[in-house]
Amino acid sequence: MIFYIGSFALVLTGLYIAAAKKNLIKIIMGLSLVDTGVNLFLISIGYIKGGTAPIFSNAAIPGKTMVDPVPQAMVLTAIVIGLAVTALALSLVIKAYYHYGTLNVRKIKELKW
């Protein structure tokens, strides 16, 4: 349960940062936090307390105690995606700083209305 609470806390914190903070880097950190929270959530879905790795070669371990491998695979993918997004985001932030001379999103407002 604590995992779920923790993961949602992470997500909410991240969202708060993304919504409220002005600095682009901070916003991206917030997004990373959201990602992490979601990942944690996925992991905790498949997690069984005291479970083992889902390797079927060892027949002695009963299937029930194995943690679900699918969320882990999902998380792996999600991490990769998150990484890509973060990388892209940071590179864009660099460009944004190059063009606007600031990281303050309140000032990067040329496109509006």
Binding site: L31, V38, I45, A78, L88, A96, E110, L111
Partner: protein, 497 residues
């Protein structure tokens, strides 16, 4: 079965990574890939219409493996995507010529891959992955030429932030569903959800709609759209407007209809949201001075109409929505491409060393005489978007209104309100048409002579008129597509085992 639908995803993906290796020939790869997809999907259509194809990947039987579910809906979207992709890439052959050319082609193919993947997959997580491919390539394409293009960067950053939040929501929702039912296969999920009587299922649904809604640009999640569509180069705007946001709508509808069985409360919310999107989009477009931004807001409006049609949740409504997707894709692509060519010509004439992707409406004045074919294309696209016969937009509007009226009651009233948007749309588009044809401008020495750019115009305009006069050619596939969306039992029944 001769060809596998897997190729629809695999070939562009492969080509995407081959493209950077090809050097100067890279620009011919996207058309080739898209053409391949187009031919393939058209070949597949008759087969798919008979019965949907299910392709399992990885050797496991479904629901344990990743599988592709190639139904009429999927193949219809795939065909539409590849058609749009093909025409736009032909256009881009001579349009995207400066600076980040190589990356463009890779990203473009990736976008096509992502889009095709989303519509063909039968696995919710796989859908998410393809969706992310689509999104990330969109972010990057928005920032095309970020180094020279200030606004592109800004739009991309904003798009990315919103998109990421949306993606996180989707992933969260997928996690929840997996937590509840332990499966990711959509048919399997649908089966479980249909049986479940859980009162918490609305939570993943909420997250799904909010997540996919960002890409689908429903109000108020669409703040990225006017920025991204207006600042990116014309082909990119076109593919965004014609394909990317429709994919978002597809994803929402797939989730809502197939997984969750279209509960009334969601559908009515979608209906209202669609209506709001329509009105807000058109109202915002009404006061734009920037032609591309105006068209972008118009896209919002059209998406609103699509969502509205889907929100009716009847067969005719969905058919109408799909028809509207087709009509919007064709018309909006033509619109963006023609605008792009006009901007390009003006830019080449006036400030060749600046990187300009957007322009004031007034700058287009008098172009009708210098660029007759392009202007004609613009006019046809605008007329079609407004819904004048005999263009395709008329048929789609007809279907939507008819669907709403068939449902009757409050839906008819809402439809009446939605029709006001058409009037607004007419007002602002026709002002531009007037400007192009009947105002005197300072444009001199502009010519249109680029065959690669003009050919897509011809094809699109011909399609718009042809499908406007003979909408019957689309009805069969659209009917079975909408049948697929509505027939949840049938979808579940396709699940082997």
């Amino acid at each position: 079965m001769v060809v596998s639908p897997v190729l629809l995803i695999a070939v562009p993906l492969l080509l995407a990574f081959i493209a950077p290796l090809c050097g100067k020939a890279a620009k011919y790869i996207p058309p080739a890939g898209a053409l391949f997809n187009l031919i393939l999907s058209v070949i597949l259509i008759p087969t798919v219409l008979k019965s949907p194809m299910i392709v399992s990947i990885g050797g496991f039987p479904p629901p344990f493996c990743i599988n592709l579910f190639v139904g009429p809906l999927g193949i219809f979207f795939a065909a539409l995507i590849s058609l749009a992709g093909f025409l736009i890439s032909i256009y881009a052959l001579s349009y995207i010529r400066e600076r980040a050319v190589g990356k463009y082609h890779t990203l473009y193919l990736l976008l096509l891959t992502g889009a095709t993947g989303v519509v063909l997959t039968g696995d919710i997580f796989n859908l998410f992955v393809f969706y992310e491919i689509l999104c990330i390539s969109s972010y990057a394409l928005t920032a095309h030429n970020a180094h020279w293009h200030r606004h592109g960067t800004e739009a991309a950053v904003k798009y990315l932030i919103q998109g990421s939040v949306g993606s996180a929501f989707i992933l969260l929702a997928i996690g929840m569903l997996y937590g509840f039912f332990g499966t990711l296969n959509m048919a399997d999920l649908a089966k479980h959800i249909a049986r479940a009587h859980s009162s918490v299922l609305f939570i993943p649904l909420t997250f799904f709609i909010a997540g996919f809604g960002v890409e689908a640009a429903i109000f108020p999640l669409n703040a990225w759209l006017p920025d991204a569509h207006s600042v990116s180069p014309a082909p990119i705007s076109a593919i965004f407007s014609g394909i990317a946001i429709e994919i978002g709508v597809y994803a929402i509808m797939r989730v809502v209809f197939t997984l969750f069985g279209a509960p009334l409360s969601v559908m009515s919310v979608l209906l209202i949201v669609g209506l709001l999107t329509l009105l807000v989009g058109e109202i915002c477009a009404f006061r734009q001075n920037n032609i591309k931004r105006m068209s972008a807001y118009s896209s919002i409006g059209q998406i609103g109409l699509i969502v509205f049609a889907f929100g009716l949740a009847t067969k005719s409504g969905i058919t109408a929505g799909l028809f509207q997707i087709t009509s919007h894709a064709l018309s909006k692509i033509l619109l963006f491409l023609t605008i792009g060519y006009m901007i390009y010509s003006i830019r080449m004439k006036n400030y060749p060393d600046k990187y300009v992707t957007e322009i004031e409406i007034n700058s287009l004045n008098g172009l009708g005489k210098k660029m007759p074919l392009t202007s004609l294309g613009f006019a046809i696209a605008a007329f079609s978007l407004i819904g004048f016969p005999p263009f395709i937009g008329f048929s789609s509007k007809l279907l939507i209104v008819k669907a709403a009226l068939l449902k009757g009651g409050i839906y008819a009233v809402l439809m009446g309100i939605a029709l006001i948007a058409t009037v607004i749309e007419g007002a602002y588009f026709l002002k531009v048409v007037q400007g192009i044809y009947f105002r005197k401008g300072e444009v001199e020495g502009i010519k249109e002579n680029n065959v690669f750019i003009l050919v897509p115009f011809f094809i699109l305009a011909a399609l718009i008129i042809f499908a406007g006069i003979y909408p019957g050619i689309l009805t069969k596939i659209l009917n079975s597509s909408s049948g697929e969306l509505l027939n949840r039992i049938g979808y579940i029944g396709r699940l082997p085992g």
